[in-house]
Amino acid sequence: MKSNSKERRKFLDKGLKIGLATLIGSFGLSKLSSKLIAKTTTSSNDKMELMTTDGKLIQVDSSEVMTVEKHHDHDSAYNVREGMPNRKFVMVVDLAKCKNALNCQNACNKYHYVTGDNAWLKVYDMQESKDTAHYWMPMMCQHCDKPACVTVCPVDATFKRRDGLVLIDNERCIGCRFCMAACPYSTRVFNWGDPGQEVTLNMDLIGHSPSPEHAGKPSVVGTVDKCDFCPHQVQQGELPHCVTACPNGVFYFGDKYEDTVTNGEETLRLSQLLEDKAGYRFLEGLGTEPSVYYLPPTDRLVDFEDGLQYYKEFESVEKPE
């Protein structure tokens, strides 16, 4: 009995192995034979004249010619997760011009219906060390090229697009907050409770379905939000809200591939600007490769103290009374 069952097991084991080997072998053979057959197809001697992309005329056997179905929507089809083709959005923030007017923050809060206690865009009172000067530093999502938040997301809810944007799918986010722990720039905010947007601002929200393109419209309880570089504006050829709201032209937005950035008033060469003003990226040493560049706060137009009148240490989102 015992030896019998052992025999059976051995047989099954061997059978399985042989079967697997045969399967792999036959697959390889069929691949090989298809290649051989292709080589031996006889040409029809019927030649066609075609023009190559660089303008040369060539003759090709007509049996080799196939019509290619043209995908009409190849370039125009827009995939929210892929982004706008052949673009790479960047921002430049000129710290020399910032006087903490906070128009950027107010516009961002307004147009993104931010209702929590933490704004997506904050202007920090910065000081590198005791003996160096204070300066104002607007901080928003840095849209890193190596985003730490995207790496740790377990469900691909936050993702990186080809056009440089890092966005959040609020319909997929499970609310684990790992991305917030991973982000070194503390720019992610969480909807701890019901966002309550329809109560405070019910104008455009009715019937608006959430999309990563329109992050925060409306926000979803138990999910993460953050600065989205306003793709809904960019698509319409407009600048992000913070850029247009700033009275001092602090923010420049543009396309790295086109090498241009604009603050609405002047349009500059990105590479030239960064070289002239010694642009840098925040926490470069971490290797996150941000898409936001800062210009150092030298030759400032206004005193740091002028901005203090708007500075609120414990508030970044104004609450309706």
Binding site: K122, M139, V155, I174, G175, W192, T223, F314
Partner: protein
């Protein structure tokens, strides 16, 4: 033969007494309160907690880490002691396995409590991304649950057969159930060979899987840029900490079980002495990694690192940090150096201190780091600069601890806490043939 009967009578599970029933009711009341609080959290969102955009993880996570750590006791007691052939483990392994099962199941539940959208749990499978440490957790925790259940179950087979026989007349229903669970165990040589081999395989598996579980738990933190988490020391630091929490928990449960089931004959001072030595060793290894984690960075003292260490050593969390380190770790080591310190009663208190210390230690690991990010904390309510759990968080967390104790209590009620068959064999009074020593 009589000796065998007496042994079986000593070790079979016994009915709950009044005190035990009161204990169960106490636990269930806490659990119900926790459930109510959790339902409220699901309804209102996590605004019922005191977590915020800075302290974005709280005691749900540190409690999860504590459960993961405690579940390591199965790997230690079973695998290490088994593979090194330490025979004194016999009366202790079953309880270690029970604690492991309860702790790892609770770890799986507590991590879900932290999820703000438990309704989207399936996304973890549907949209799983392999590079996220959370996905590694999704793989390793169920694996560990299965392995620890098997490790509890396989050695129970002969005992289930004994229980079937024992309860045949007294409780036919229970007897039938035990009989089914025993998978027709007769104690034949063939069955024993399969069982021995299976246990050996599982014991070999639980060691790497257990180590991986602790490691992945550490990687949840060390894969971020946060100062205080971004440490290559973290995985061994967590593994050694898990040994401390696990063995501490084991000592506490064994002391209580021995007292209430009057098992002084089987679990003696000798066993406590051995466990004391093991715990002392674990604590010393943990202390070593603590030195690596907190003392060595003082020397290079990069600015961010210095901020973190200041917060722990002299700042906001210094009291907790020093209590956890001195009373929860150094003091137990000193006491356990003395033979008197390893007697059952003092060792029980040490175990209790170590377990409570281990719980708070996780709090000290999770919270302070979150409160000093790279950028200053500005533009948010002042309360966001500190974190202390809310009422909801406490109730829910305490009820998860109660749930773990309930699981342990139920298993202790229905399973023989000391392996009957094995003990009989070791005493040489077994009814069955002794296991043939087959070289595997």
């Amino acid at each position: 033969m009589n000796a065998y009967k007496a042994l079986v009578k000593d070790l079979v599970p016994k009915k709950f007494r009044k005190k035990d029933k009161l204990w169960m009711i106490f636990l269930i009341v806490i659990i119900v309160a926790g459930l109510v609080a959790y339902i409220d959290q699901v309804r209102q969102g996590q605004k019922v907690t005191n977590m915020n955009d800075y302290a974005l993880w709280g005691i749900y996570i540190s409690n999860f880490v504590f459960f993961i750590a405690t579940s390591f006791v199965g790997s230690v007691a079973v695998a290490i002691l088994r593979l090194t052939n330490n025979h004194w483990r016999t009366p202790l392994v079953r309880i270690a396995e029970i604690i492991t099962v309860a702790a790892i199941v609770m770890a799986g539940i507590t991590i879900m409590i932290d999820m703000a959208r438990p309704d989207r749990l399936l996304n973890l499978f549907v949209h799983a991304r392999l590079q996220s440490p959370i996905t590694w957790d999704v793989v390793i925790i169920p694996t560990y649950i299965v392995i620890s259940l098997l490790l509890l179950y396989f050695p129970l087979l002969p005992d289930f057969a004994i229980l079937k026989k024992y309860f045949k007349k007294k409780k036919p229903k229970m007897s039938k159930l035990y009989g089914k669970l025993s998978l027709n165990w007769t104690g034949s040589a063939a069955q024993k060979a399969i069982q021995t081999k299976s246990i050996k395989i599982i014991a070999l598996m639980i060691l790497p899987v257990g180590l991986l579980l602790q490691t992945i738990d550490a990687w949840l933190f060390s894969t971020t840029y946060r100062i205080g988490w971004d440490s290559t020391n973290f995985a061994p630091y967590f593994i050694s900490g898990a040994m401390v929490a696990g063995i501490g928990g084991l000592i506490c449960v064994i002391f209580v079980v021995r007292r209430y089931k009057r098992l002084h004959k089987y679990i003696t001072d000798f066993h406590f002495d051995k466990m004391g030595k093991l715990l002392a060793l674990a604590c010393m290894i943990y202390l070593y990694f603590n030195i690596n984690e907190y003392v060595i960075p003082l020397f290079t003292s990069k600015k961010d690192e210095a901020t973190h260490l200041d917060m722990l050593i002299t700042g906001e969390y210094s009291v907790l940090f020093w209590v956890v380190t001195i009373i929860g770790l150094i003091l137990p080591i000193i006491v356990m150096f003395f033979k008197k310190g390893r007697k059952p009663v003092p060792l029980f208190y040490i175990g209790l201190i170590v377990v409570i210390g281990s719980w708070w230690k996780r709090f000290v690991i999770v919270t302070p780091t979150l409160l000093h990010p790279f950028l200053p904390i500005q533009g948010v309510p002042e309360s966001w600069r500190h974190y202390f759990p809310s009422f909801h968080e406490w109730i829910i967390t305490i009820s998860t601890l109660a749930m773990a104790l309930l699981l342990i209590t139920i298993m202790i009620r229905y399973l023989p806490v000391i392996p009957i068959q094995r003990t009989a064999e070791e005493l040489g009074i077994s009814k069955e043939e002794p296991i043939e020593k087959t070289e595997l």
